[in-house]
Every structure is written in C-alpha cells, then in structure tokens.
Symmetry: C3
C-alpha cells in the first residue's frame, strides 16, 4: 500500500498539483454506460451545478425541483435521469444515466485537484530520539515528533503537525496542517486528522481539594482505530479510568467533541458540532447529527440515529431515531411539536373552558406521576 | 492601499506596539462635538465601564439601568446622553453627547493597542516554488506557503500560518497565527482569518463502498470574497460538486462551521458555534445567531434573522426572524413557548375534563393531518 | 513552586516519559486503608473498567448496575464498596473500600504517563526583543514570543505555541501545542491552555459604515486569573469597552466560546461547546453544561447551574438550575416537557371538545397578556 501511495503522489507531481483531466461528453457517456444525446465532442473540464455551470462544465439534473435551473443552464453537457431526459432547456448535449448523482460522484476524482506531496523529511522538522519513521513517509516543514513515537509506512504529516512522545501512528496516516496528537496516543492505519484536530488531550475531569479543584490524572489511552477520520478543530480526549476508543471507519466532522472514556463503535458518523460527554458508549453504525449532544454515562444502541440538535440525556435503543430537547423517539417528538403548534391556537379557549367548568368540578388533585415528572 | 497599511505599521512601531494616546476631557468633548461640564483638564488614558473605571479613564452612561453604577463610579470623565446629564453621582466631569455608545466607539481606536508588525519575510518561513509575494507583505516566523500560491500586496501572514499549494490571496489579507488555508482556496482582498481558522478543507462527504465508505473527491472550490472575516477555529469547507462561497463583507465569529457547497451571500453575520450543513444557500444580509443550526439543502432568504440556538430544517423566507427547535417564525415560537408554560398548569384538569366528557362523546377519529404531521 | 515543577520534570525524565509504577494488591489495600480479600501478591500495572480489565489491571465496582460486568471480569484485583463485597464473580482478589471511585482516582497518578519535558529554550524558537523569560522555563520547538512579552518562572510552552507582543504570563503557565495568546493578553499563575486554544482575539464587534461595516477596535484586555484552564480549540476574546475576565480557578472544556467583555467569576466550569455572548456577567461557582448558550448582556448569579443545551436569554438568579429552550427554571422545564408529552395524546380530543362547546360559548377575546407574550 505504501508503494501505491507514493505512486499517487508522483503522478500528482507530474501535473503540478492539478489532477484535472479534460474529457469529451462521448467519453463520459461511455465511461458511465449512459446514453448520449447531442454533440459528443463537447470537452468537459470540470463539474458545476446547473445554475453556475459554464460551457466547458458538466452538470446534472436528478430531481424535477431543479428543472427551472436546467431551462437556462449554460452547462456544456448534463447528466439526466431517464424520466427527465426530455426536459426542455438549453443544454443540448445530454447523457442519460440511471442515477445522475452517483454517476457525477464517480467522475469527481477526474476533476479533483490533489495536494502535491513532497518526499521525505523536511530539514526543519524536529524529530525526537528513538522515533520510528516508516518507509515512504512525508514529514513537512515544522513538524514536531516527540521521543519514542512511531510513524507507520506511507504516512504524511503536513506542516506544523505535532506527534507527542510515545504516540503510535499506523500506516498511511494523514495529519493535515496543525493537527495535534498528544503524547501516548494510538492511531490505526489510514487515520486522517484534519487541520487543528486535537486527539489524546487529558479529559475534563477534576476532583475537589482544599483550595480548589485538581485535575484527575488521565491514565487511560486514546485510540483511533483504522480508517477513522477526525475533522478540522475537532477534539477526542483520552480516558481517565478507561480508554477513549473510536471504532474503525468512524468519520468525525469539524468541531466535534468526544470526551474522556467514550467508546465509539465502528462505522459511525458525527456531524459538525456534535458533542459526546464522558463515559458514554456508542454502538456501531450510529449517526449523530450536527449540534447533537449526548450526556455522560449513557448508551446509544447500534445503528441509532440522533437528529441534528438532539439533546440526548438517556439511553437510546438500537436502530431508533431520536430528536428533540430533551431527545425522545423522533415520531413522538414530531407529534409533540405538531401538538404544540396547535395548542398555541387553543390555549386561551381551553383555559376559559376550565374556568367555566370549575364551578361544577371537584378540585384536581395532583397525582404521584405529576410529581415524579419533576 | 499597500502604502497606507505600511504607514500604519510604521506608525505603530513608533509607539512600541502601544497605540494609546492620552487626551484631555476638553479635547474629547471637542472631538465629539459634546458639551463639557466640569474640569476639562482631566487626562484620559483609557476606557472602562462605570463600575471599573479609574480616575484616568473615560466611561459612559447611556441607559437608566446603569445609574446605580454611575452613582459611585470613579471614572475621570463620563459620556452621558442629554436625558441623563443631571444624574446624581460622583463623576464631576461630564460630556453630554446625543449617543454615548457611538461616541465611545469612535474613541476606541485612540486607546487600542495594535499588534506590532514587522516588515518582509522572516527567514524561517518556508516558501514553495512559483509563489507570488506581493509588495509590502509581512511573512512571520514559521509560515509555510505551498507551491504556486499567490499572496496579494500588503498581506500579513502571522506565525505558523499555512497557505496550501495553488491558493490565491488578495491584497491586504490578514492571516492570524495558525490560520490554515488548504490548497487551491481563493481569498479576496482584506480577508481576515483568525487563529486556527481552517478554510478549504475537503467537506464531510462519503459514499458507501465494499468494506466501508470512501471520501467523495471535493472538486469544488472554496472562495471567500472581499472583506470576509473568519473567527478563531472556525471552518469553511470546500465544495464537492459545487463551490463553497462566502459573499463579500460577511463576518463569521469563532467556532463556526460552514459545510461544503454552501453559498453565503454578502454582508451576513454568523455568531459563534453557528453551523450550516451542506449545499444550503443563504441570501445577503442574513444574521445567524450563536449555536443556530441550518440543515442541508435549504434556502435562507435575504435579510432573514435566525435566533440563537434556532434549529432550521426548512426554507426561511426573506426578511423573517425564526427561532426554536425546530425553528418556526419567531412570533409563532414565542406564542408556542408561552402556551406551553400555561399548559403545564392545566394539563391535569384538561385530562380530567376529557375523561369526564368521554362517556358522552363519540371516539375521536384520527384525521389525515395528524398522520401527515408525523 | 518553580523548584517543585522542575523536580517533577526531572523525575519524569528518569522513567522515559512513562510514570507507571507496578504495585501489589496488598500495597494498594494498605495505601487505601482497605480490606484485602484474596491474593495480595497480584501485581497491578494499570487501571481499567471491569469489562476490559486484564489480569494485571485493577478495576472497581461501585454500583449494582455494573454487577453483570463483574461476574466475568478478568481484572487482577477489584475495589468494591462494602455492600458489594460479596458479589459473585470471577475476581478473587478484592479490596473493600468505602468509596471505590474516589479510591481509584487517588491511584491514577501512579499509572499516569506524563509527557516528558525538556529543559530550556529550543534553538528553533523565535523570541522577540525585550522578552522576559523566567527561571526554569521550557520553550519547545517553533514557539514564537512577541516583543515585550513576559513568561513567568517554571512555565512550559509546547511546540508552536504563540505568545503575542506585550502579553504577560504568570508562573508555571502551561501552553500546549499550538495554543495562541494574542498580543497584550494577561495570564495568571498556573494557567493552562490546551492545544489550539485562542485567547485575547479581538471580539466580534462591528459598526455600520458607508459601504459596509468596520471592526470596533477592542481596547479592552483579556485576563485569565490564576489556575484557569482553557480546553483545546476554545476561544476567549478580548474586550472592546471593558475587559474580558476569567476568574481564578475556572475550568473551560474544549470548543467553548467566551465573547468580548464577559466577566466570569471564580471556580466556574464550562463544558464543551458552551457559548457565552458579549458583556454577560457570570458569578462565582457557576456550572455551564455542554452546548449551553447564554445571550449577551445578562447576569448569571453565583452558583447557578445551566443544564446542557440550555439556551439562556435572560438573567438567572443565584443558585438556580435552569434548562430548556428558552431556558427556564429546571423544574418548570421538566413540568412543561412532561405536559407536552401528555398533550400530544389529547390535542385532538381537546380541539373537538372546543368545537362542540363553541356554539354555547361567547368568542374568546385576546387578553393583553397574550399579546405581551409575543
């Protein structure tokens, strides 16, 4: 795998950091197995949405709601689904494919400009003692690697990345600029940390003491398994009495917080600003929406889905979708929201109705369940 | 404009990084066109609120609610609005102006300590090949600029700023310490990135594949137009099939997330922790409150106002203020919140009322609209 | 205190960055004053929760809910509370202590691996003119210190930390990698900034002007008193017309935002993603939950507790717990949430009830209080 990475890198350098390769509409149709209508000789140099595409760009129409953009689009060629193939509009070169969005995505790599990658260790980097550097690593300017750390084959550490003492990075790890791996942290193969991501910090735990509080020593580890990705400026803290573990293949967006002792399963997704408090356990395949928060010491079952902004304070069963503040099953939350909107229109009549009926009704006694709810 | 900037910088250096210039109360009154009461010879060296101002500082009283601070304030002089001019209190030197807050702001520059700016390129900086450095740029220690990047005249890149390969920065761009411009990103004139801001990262998009998911190549650009400001540790991702664009003059606070393919109009404001999901379009002059979230693929109309903490999951018409979770028009949200507070007091009697009336009422049939709400 | 720190540091270096010291179960029991049951010669090299502990690790059982893990735990020894001492399970070496969790925390330092600390100033650091470096400071690679800054005795600035011109740091300050102290910022003794934290940035304040908006010059200071800790990628902005002050002993988690002119008392806690808008005052001992937001210009009383996700838009009295969106006293919020859940089940019958009674009831007139609520 190391060789493959270096090959990519070398190919990249040949085109000066720009991987974009022109292609004709006919070639696009052939590659996608689509049906070409119109002039197949149109040259495509990039991709853009219908309202902004220019004559050298490819666009796509996958849903009737965007037909108004199609009508006047300047796109050189357009991918359309079969049911929209005859939509009236300016684009005359059309490629009919079953799934235009998937087809588009499959073409993106062709128009994607990859970051150029240098080889070897930049002379400005500061490498500690007893550091293992694998074959084919790229160490960019001002990288700092602490004593005893290990960097696996093919890894690429961008400018100013910091790897603390004793940390272990697998193969083909990618640290973007300013990523920080605190000491004694473990990253599997193909882990990616984006700019400013911070992993392995001692978590937010204090104990009271005379004159204030003192930090709990965080004796646990912080482990990111294979293929984990951590977004820009996101944070994963190390554990105190347990390890913090992010399961293989889990993807974390920007500005996410994962606290100490949290165990995240495999193949999860955390959208931006999601926050997970300490010692919570998250099963495999869980999806956490943007700005969703999960309290400490709870369990989120396998395959659960937490809606954006959900505020979860208890356990969520496997496979369920929860939303709201506090979060409850999504269907219940929707039902409650709808009821609340309707309530606003009738709250005054309801109060009046009760007032008018109060003379003939015995006083309501508070039930135990009312108190329990508090 | 470059000359002006260098002039500022030179002037700045003359005062050792401290722009504070003492001024007498009489001179303040003259500059503001205000009416001086008391001793005009008092020397003012700084600004502070009433409860903390000292005899060498200027303060202001613009609202009756702060009168209790005024009573015992030690401020050397105070700006007051005409209606509060006679407020009893210790400050004897008073300057009466129509708008004390605006007047105060107009004085701030005098007491503001500007960061000293060095000239030229620090020898520790690592500049790639084919990089264009404009006239009068400041490149501070450990800055890294990738191959083919362009830095406009008068720009100032602070310590550890990183500009990726192929990125283009306009004139008078200001990158604070640790700001990261990913490769192939475009910044207009007078763009400011604060410490740790990250722009141009490939967005959070994946497609399923055998054995897991793979990243969608992000072939779109990330463009910040003129006069955009991005706060500390905020993130603006590049596009996948579209560009991510932040319109001219838009100001973004700290810890904000703008996802891939988002188009933000001109003159918008995003308060801290706001998050905008992918492919959403935001019109000109939109104000997004702190911790507000906007879902993907929606449209926020020109001049709309999203309250702090609002969770927006659908389109918001131009000019409207929305709030709540999920967000709705602010008036509706307030009405619903008020209704809910009143409901808590009557829910039990309402349930009892229904129970007592159930014998004489036919069973409620679920209406289609109830189901649709789910 | 400086000497003590250097002593720690030297001790640390002796063990190669790894402070873990094996101990027998008998010695653990003796140290904790606990009662040993079973084989006291078991050697303990670390700590782990019951479900993951291995034979060389110590674990703990403090609550009946974890008994199922205890049953099959492989832990070499387990701390148990007296009431759980006889719980059936595989661990045969047991140490009975009154408070297993507290006991465990007291042992953590023994198993905690401390980051190795070098001595002196790394040659790559860039130190400005007129900088004061105290005795026993550690300045790691690529640190940048601006002109006129002062670094107190015993302070440790990790790789890439930036201290702006004119900033003043107390004794034993700890800046982790990539922490940024903007110019003219003041940090007390034993202040800690974690990776990517940013303090002293000019706040998010603009005034309209012809052709757009301009920044308000931020003439106020940013002051972090003794023993303040700021988490990874968190931000504390400097003041405009006031200072921003974080009181002594206050602890701030990751990704928190404190805006300009905010005054925070002593001994407060801010969990991750909390955000405080400008000019708000927060008393001593306030606890702010994760993702909680506080609007601008409000006052949070001493000892108040803001629940996770709370959206506070008004003053909160001392000692109260508030939650919800918008936040209200926690008891009221719980009562409202419970009422809402019950409402969903009866909204349709209520509407029907009103319809059936409408013929015999005079139309409800809107009260002034209904309008005020909007």
């Amino acid at each position: 795998m190391t060789a493959a990475v270096r090959g990519d890198s070398e190919g990249q350098r040949d085109v000066g950091g720009d991987g974009r390769e022109p292609i004709t509409a006919a070639a696009v149709a052939a590659q996608l197995g689509g049906t070409l209508i119109g002039d197949g000789s149109v040259t495509i140099e990039g991709i853009a949405p219908l309202d902004r595409a220019e004559p050298h760009q490819l666009s796509f129409l996958a849903h009737p709601r965007y037909v108004h953009w199609f009508t006047t689009s300047r796109a050189g060629a357009v991918l359309l689904s079969p049911d929209l193939a005859q939509t009236p509009g300016t684009p005359s070169t059309r490629i009919i494919v079953a799934k235009p969005v998937d087809a588009m995505v499959s073409l993106l790599a062709r128009f994607h400009r990859r970051e150029p990658r240098a080889a070897g260790v930049h002379p400005s980097a500061v490498i500690g003692s007893d550091v293992h550097l694998g074959a084919g690593v790229t160490i960019d300017p001002f990288v700092v690697i602490g004593d005893g750390a290990s960097i696996g084959d093919g890894s690429w550490l961008s400018a100013h990345a910091v790897v603390g003492a004793g940390s272990i990075l697998g193969r083909d790890v990618r640290l973007h600029a300013h990523a920080v791996v605190y000491p004694f942290t473990e990253l599997g193969d193909r882990v990616t940390l984006h700019a400013g991501a911070s992993v392995g910090r001692e978590g937010f735990g204090f104990v009271p003491q005379a004159g204030g509080v003192v930090r709990i020593p965080h004796a646990g580890r912080c482990i990111l398994e294979h293929d984990v990705e951590v977004g820009a400026n996101s944070c994963v803290d190390r554990g105190s009495v347990d390890d913090t573990i992010i399961g293989a293949g889990t993807k974390i967006d920007n500005l996410v917080q994962i606290a100490h002792n949290v165990r995240v399963g495999r193949g999860c997704f955390f959208a931006s600003h999601a926050g997970i408090a300490g010692s919570t356990r998250i099963g495999d395949g869980v999806q956490v929406g943007g700005q969703a928060g999960v309290g400490g010491h709870v369990t989120i079952g396998t395959g659960a889905n937490l809606a954006g902004g959900a505020s979860v304070i208890g356990n969520v069963p496997a496979g369920e979708t929860w939303s709201g503040y506090p979060a409850r099953p999504h269907r219940e939350h929707l039902r409650a929201s709808a009821a609340l909107a309707r309530l606003a229109k009738i709250i005054r009549p309801l109060e009046q109705l009760l007032q008018s009926s109060v003379a003939s009704t015995p006083p309501a006694r508070e039930r135990p369940s009312d108190r329990a709810a508090e």
